[in-house]
């Protein structure tokens, strides 16, 4: 199989609610990616688009919408949805299209506009869609799921409130150095520990909100485009995982979970990362930078274990020992993470890939990790969605 490279990336900075429409944000990200890749629009041979689920017909056909802005050329355009791992699906499909020989150069993008209110049920058929039950009878906003798991972890492994707060301290330090982040204020441990509980043991600063943002990545196997690109980044593997029977994690939108584990926690991400390790021949020990989905401080800790960077229950020690800091053995989320960005559903997995690529390309200024050669972007979506992308330079 031929090698596939990232040659262009673009972002629209993360922000809060906006009256502007998703296509405007998408166009900014795609324009930036084209400029970075130094190619014209007609070089794009396929578009793999993340669905903007609150955008009606246009949001569900976001790829067609984007194409009409830049000029319709008849190429394959496919729209994907994998909850918060949607961006992983788009880059994986762009990669597969090239690896399969269908195209040489493809665009993956996603854009999301934060809704004015809360995210909630999207249908009214409780038999078909248990999400209806969790909202109407369960009283279960997303962070409760994380809090339930976090409490189990504290009981089992002794994770402390200080550990949870320390994650925010680190993320806010890095976020303050990232011009594309939404939240740039730096917090002390004391400030975090004084913030109100949303769902005990998780505090306001320890969970991430919903944001507006857009991201675009151009991948290619075209030798000419690779040779003229500025520090092209090789994709060693980009994989998707789903859940494994017996996963004890209580999944968002579920009302129950197994009491006896027969699979790893967050098995969708276990599966995605193990597929990526196997396919790339790169293991956790080889990774210089990790972007993981810190939807909450709990996620930050558990993902280090799920993805095999330490054994179960040992992530707190990694954090306390400073191993996950910039300058440590495994810098985690130098971007500032979800904590500094918030979730922009169909864009966030691509933004993680872009942060990794920017780090490998030495473009990260005050938050630059020195000498990084291998980076891994790990994402997570509700109801059994996950993706892993391993890159190198």
């Amino acid at each position: 199989m031929r090698d596939v490279y990232i040659i262009g990336t673009g972002i629209h900075p993360w922000m809060g609610f906006s009256e502007k429409v998703f296509a405007d944000f998408a166009a900014v990200a795609v324009d930036n990616a084209l400029k970075d890749a130094q190619i014209e629009w007609k070089k794009i041979q396929a578009i793999m688009a993340g669905i903007f689920i609150y955008g009606g017909n246009a949001g569900h056909l976001s790829g067609q919408y984007l194409e009409s802005i830049f000029g319709e050329t008849g190429i394959p355009v496919v729209n994907v949805y994998n909850a918060c791992a949607t961006g992983s699906a788009s880059i994986r499909m762009a990669y597969n299209s090239i690896a399969a020989g269908e195209t040489d150069t493809a665009l993956a993008f996603g854009a999301d506009v934060s809704p004015k209110g809360f995210l909630t049920a999207k249908s009214d058929n409780a038999v078909q869609d248990r999400d209806v039950i969790r909202w109407k009878m369960g009283g279960l906003p997303n962070p409760i799921y994380w809090a339930l798991e976090c409490r189990k972890r504290m009981e089992k492994y002794g994770t402390t409130e200080e550990d949870l707060a320390m994650v925010k301290v680190l993320m806010s330090e890095y976020g303050s150095k990232n011009p594309d982040a939404r939240f740039k204020k730096q917090y002390t441990l004391e400030e975090v520990l004084k913030s109100v509980y949303v769902c005990d043991p998780l505090r306001l600063y320890e969970i991430c909100p919903v944001s507006t943002g857009a991201a675009a990545v151009i991948v290619t196997a075209d030798p000419e485009l690779i040779s003229k690109a500025d520090n092209p980044v090789k994709i060693n593997a980009t994989t998707m995982g789903s859940a494994i029977y017996g996963d004890p994690t209580i999944r968002i939108s579920a009302l129950s979970c197994p009491a006896v584990p027969e699979a790893p926690m967050l098995s969708e991400s276990y599966s995605a990362s193990r597929q990526a390790y196997e396919k790339s021949g790169i293991g956790p020990e080889d990774v210089d930078i990790l972007e993981l989905p810190d939807n909450s401080s709990w996620h930050y800790l558990v993902y280090l274990e799920t993805c095999g960077f330490c054994k179960e229950g040992e992530a707190d020690k990694m954090l306390r020992d400073g191993m996950t800091k910039i300058g440590g053995k495994l810098p985690v989320n130098p971007s500032g993470g979800f904590s500094s960005h918030g979730e922009a559903l169909s864009a966030q997995a691509l933004w993680q890939v872009i942060e990794c690529a920017n780090q490998l390309r030495g473009r990260c200024g005050a938050r630059q990790v020195e000498g990084a050669k291998v980076a891994m972007a790990q994402t997570y979506g509700l109801m059994g969605n996950s993706g892993t992308t391993i890159m190198s330079i």
Partner: protein, 144 residues
């Protein structure tokens, strides 16, 4: 038990009190042994023949496997007439069924919650509907 006359679940087929006890309604696959809640959300073991799925009532009692305290109102379509925040919400483990089920905890002293404590299934009155019925959801409370 509570007086269950004139009460109706907001969504059917989840909680039952016809036996005189409040119990959660689920299903069991007799081929792979997995219990489901809600019963329509199948989660079979891979390669299960999926034969013999039957309705079950979970036991009234289980033990608290985890919990949180929610400080903000749950957004619509969740609906209660009375302010219930902060409210406890827990995962209650049914030991033989090897399943943990979420539910709001109808406890006023949330400081007493503790992993491992014995809980029983109950109902929470949410609001009165147009037919003057009390619309309820399932919930858990500590066994005193």
């Amino acid at each position: 038990m509570e007086n269950m006359a004139n009460k109706v679940a907001r969504i059917p087929n989840l909680v039952d009190w016809s036996t005189g006890e409040v119990r959660l309604m689920g299903a069991k696959c007799n081929s792979c042994g997995t219990y489901f809640f809600p019963k329509e959300h199948y989660q079979h073991r891979p390669d299960c023949s999926r034969e013999g799925v039957e309705d079950v009532l979970f036991p009234k009692k289980g033990k608290l496997a985890s919990y949180t305290i929610q400080y903000y109102p749950c957004p619509a379509p969740f609906k209660t007439e009375n302010k219930i925040t902060p409210y406890g919400i827990g995962l209650v483990e049914f030991e033989n069924e090897k399943i943990q089920i979420t539910g709001i905890i109808t406890e006023t002293d949330l400081k007493t919650l503790k992993i491992g404590m014995e809980m029983e299934t109950t109902i929470l009155e949410m609001f009165t509907n147009e037919e003057k019925q009390q619309v309820v959801t399932w919930a858990f409370k500590a066994v005193k």
